[in-house]
Symmetry: C2
Subunit: 389 residues, 2 copies
Amino acid sequence: MLHFPVSEFKSRLKKTKERMAAEGIEVLLITNPANMNYLSGYDAWSFYVHQILVVLIDEEEPIWIGRGMDASAAQFTTWLKKENILPYPDNYVQSTERHPMDFVCDVLREKNQANKKIAAEYDAYYFTAQNYISLTQGLPNATFSNSNNLVNWVRIVKSDQEIEFIKRAAAIVEKTMYKGIEQIHAGVRECDVVADIYHAQISGTEEFGGDYASIVPLLPSGEKTSACHLTWTDEKYKTGDPVILELAGCYKRYHAPLARTVVIGKPKPEMETLAEAAIEGINAALDIIKPGVACEEVELAWRKSIQKRGFEKESRIGYATGLNYPPDWGEHTASLRPGDKTILEPNMVFHMIPGIWLEKYGIEISETFRVTETGCEVMANVERKLFVK
Amino acid sequence: MLHFPVSEFKSRLKKTKERMAAEGIEVLLITNPANMNYLSGYDAWSFYVHQILVVLIDEEEPIWIGRGMDASAAQFTTWLKKENILPYPDNYVQSTERHPMDFVCDVLREKNQANKKIAAEYDAYYFTAQNYISLTQGLPNATFSNSNNLVNWVRIVKSDQEIEFIKRAAAIVEKTMYKGIEQIHAGVRECDVVADIYHAQISGTEEFGGDYASIVPLLPSGEKTSACHLTWTDEKYKTGDPVILELAGCYKRYHAPLARTVVIGKPKPEMETLAEAAIEGINAALDIIKPGVACEEVELAWRKSIQKRGFEKESRIGYATGLNYPPDWGEHTASLRPGDKTILEPNMVFHMIPGIWLEKYGIEISETFRVTETGCEVMANVERKLFVK
């Protein structure tokens, strides 16, 4: 069930170890499920219990440590040899007496790593305070430090096969977005539109099926469009409602997110103006993208453009995306915002989502793009406009 | 958008404060999204950035702290007054220079809580090591301790309205499970079956729509049924394949999980024996459930029953369930397993899922049940058998 050749996993691991060496890290502990997948292939919905991938700088293969019943998933989905798949007993699960990180300490002691320089992802999903406490108490002779987003930064430049996966995700999101827009009418329940969206996301295309996106479809409507992360209800759409659709296509955990805004009936003139300003701003930002440009310059191009129309936006307008697991499809590395000096390189992929939320309504129009050798390529082909039903 | 009367939120808060007082906690920090929802009503897909609910023992209302763009979602979905909704600026988001918990420290200092006894959910989802480090460094005069699952334990006995929500979720899972079983045939792609499952989950019934479940549908097939947390692929089912379906109906974040196993074509005799043993075991366990019985006794009834057939199972056979967010619909309190001495009370709700996974295949048949005054009530009405297609 490996989705990439073993050589690609080894190349990812090599880059990871180079960064480890540069930072003096001998043991890297990974709980971010996307980073676990990136280095090992591991793919299962088991991150609700503690699991970890251990990279030892001197060892050829990482070590997977997880719950006993998930060891078979590790065998199905990773390139690791069986000896490197180490399951912990079920009485470690949500126990008040023992913690899975105690087991991890035992493994590290056994492998003579108890006095090494260990780094962990201190702010990653699923690396809890208790993980930190159990590890630092269990290995008092080790030195602990924050690896920050070390593997995430390796992930930021995609391989050609990863780009191909994101293109497939984009083909799915095109189909899904048009299906959602088509289904929105006054009198239809929000949940029924979302049901059709899910159906399109998961069935995918005839050539390839869809995977679950790391964020559920976000569809605030009416005044709730001012609250961008609300999900749906079972209320019916009303004439005059604006509806934001933010959703992704996903193929084998690779995402192509996209947002569009629909108005049921005639949009208010101020909504049309807002949409025009947003589209102009996106076009201005896309226009300047090419290798060598800094992330903050992309945001600046957007900001200058909307300022001409008298609009402002405080939050960042985009972030790196690709491989991911709930609760986020963002990669937590580069952001398109003031102060971010990351230099764009070919095959970086971003979701540019410069939503504008005012007091009573908001608008979101977004694009996922890839940096090419000479500019950028927008991944999904969905009309960039305010849709009117 | 409140789904419960304010009086119910206040009663939940009162019980929480009683536990805080008993444990000498003056300030409780909550990041578990289900606990945030339970006490405040807050409901949005924003837990991918740091957010926290602060309960001060001397203050009538909790304080919501989250990202600026989510403050409007807090106003839409909570019973909190506007002054208790405290957004942090966007430059705290995934920044290398400042952390949202620094902002939380500022708030606690301003409210004269910097030298109090503070407890946090050390092993909760989204309470990262960095949260812990930033808080303890930022408030050196406070005393920090692990609240463990304090609010989760308040949640374990449901109100009548919560039971009604779980019944609606059960109505959705009945419809969804039968739809999934109906669609499974040799030659059909796994993703197309899952697309129909999602459609049924989200559209719900004519009376009420469905919400997203905290775990995606788990549908391992063939030999992969030995790996219970694998998701789907776009491969086609083959004659002879066993297929496990583990999924939930969800209504306004309340879950009714359910698992069934299907065989395409004639099941092998050993599969039929395994299914019979599992069903006998479930029946034996359900039979002894009533208020006053300990969780470990329920597991013992199951274990004794399957031992007669020569089977063993190491892992727990169930857990409390109800209100939840990804990545889990389990409540992390009582488990049906040896050593768990939690005494059953009316309106506790559990998912009993005694899956048995052997080397080459596995089976899952489960029920969500409510403890009643005299016994138990199985929530979904789906035939308890090995389905054969």
